[in-house]
Subunit: 255 residues, 2 copies
Amino acid sequence: MPHRADEGLHTVLTKIEEVTRSKTKVSCANCHTRDFCLPQNINDYEIDRVNRIVQMRRTIKKGSKLIKTGMAFHAIYAIRTGFFKTSVSTESGQEHLVGFQMTGDSLGMDGIATQKHSSDVIALEDSDICVFPIHEIENLSRVSPVFQRHFLQMLSKEIVRESQSMLMLSQMSAEIRVASFIQNLTQRLRARGFSNTELLLRMTRVEMGQYLGLKLETISRTLSKLSHNNIIEINRRHLRILDKAGLMRITGISD
Amino acid sequence: MPHRADEGLHTVLTKIEEVTRSKTKVSCANCHTRDFCLPQNINDYEIDRVNRIVQMRRTIKKGSKLIKTGMAFHAIYAIRTGFFKTSVSTESGQEHLVGFQMTGDSLGMDGIATQKHSSDVIALEDSDICVFPIHEIENLSRVSPVFQRHFLQMLSKEIVRESQSMLMLSQMSAEIRVASFIQNLTQRLRARGFSNTELLLRMTRVEMGQYLGLKLETISRTLSKLSHNNIIEINRRHLRILDKAGLMRITGISD
DNA sequence: CGTTCGCTTGAGGCAGCTCAAGTTGCGTGG
DNA sequence: CCACGCAACTTGAGCTGCCTCAAGCGAACG
């Protein structure tokens, strides 16, 4: 991929390999992920502003990094289509997956803190994202209270989500963690119009383990156990929920 | 404590027992926690605005709750003096401590997400806090880019902090967790002008365990082990660091 | 067609948990 | 002022859920 004599944000972006800029210019107004990116009660003027803010959309190839630890922070990203994992690591190389992100989710909010990213974000499939430069977000926030509130909520939701993750990691058995994970994934997929009984796991067993704080063998065994108990049916990455109530019984969470 | 026929925010506040409003009106300009609450490059006009925003300061008695899960969200709080724990729970009563907060730290940011708090915040000693109503924060953010950025950074820092916590919870041995905890506490206390070798633990062994994802017996044993290895000296809540390098060797983090 | 990757399953080990007993310090009431 | 009760903590002994190590299998891919 050729490096271009570009300036500012563009320079940074082209440094990352296997990231190409998509030609397509899509309007936020009729974007299928609009309900996830933007507040409901946003007016036409604001939508138009947002539209102009999203300077570009980009395609990220499966396996390549959208964000690397230490990278300068310039923008928040919204996923149009695709699937990502976000991880943090120690110097010694131990890695923990902080989350999986799908259509409509946002990426890169950790960068605001210090102007440098403190996580890695990797595409688990070919993905398409929108770029929201942070200074544009700040500008728009100053004139649009609705958008301002929306952006603050995005950050706060991430805080709440992570708190819940910690609760899992510190207290729950392997079976509960795996069951909650399945529940959570299907919930989010259903909200995006997919089946709530069948899904394709985008991640390996290793990655599930890195997310849930378990080893891959434990993930495998736990899935086998759930399968054996006729709660799920699993074949490699393809998963079907047979007994929704059974899952609820395990997690204690009414889906 | 009598309930007063007050309206709005006041009504909510007075509902919580053992919370009294302090009479003292202190200026943010010469507050000792200013460096933690406010950006450095804030100008006099902005300071004055912030000052007027902080409608009131409150005293929270040891053991009482500043925030309860489910409570309507109205404000962010900054700690002037004192010490708090923040926890999240399952319906079944399992509790995880998300963090400990001290002078200059902020509380309640989880509430922005849904307009309801999703955590409990309890004072571990008599404490003094400043109240920043969220709509005032939003107003000021619209006219002061410096403050706007500062507030976004506060939220983002919490996201980063929680990510690091998850890394601990999912990967580290009990010894590393406890050592990191001690390092982290002393670091923060030092930044506030306290000794970096001696500290008074404000929390019980149970609470340390709830934070670190360990049982109280494990905390106790691990502290004993560190003490036996002459890395720390511990007597009930009083802790002294004897071998800073030893701590670093355990955590792998250069303090 | 061989190699690699992702996954499953088994056997054994161990870190942290559970259960239990005992100590210490502190507030409280006689 | 002492006796008592309680909360916080320490320490020991045994248990267990998850980890480690190891072997094997099927699908994808060059």
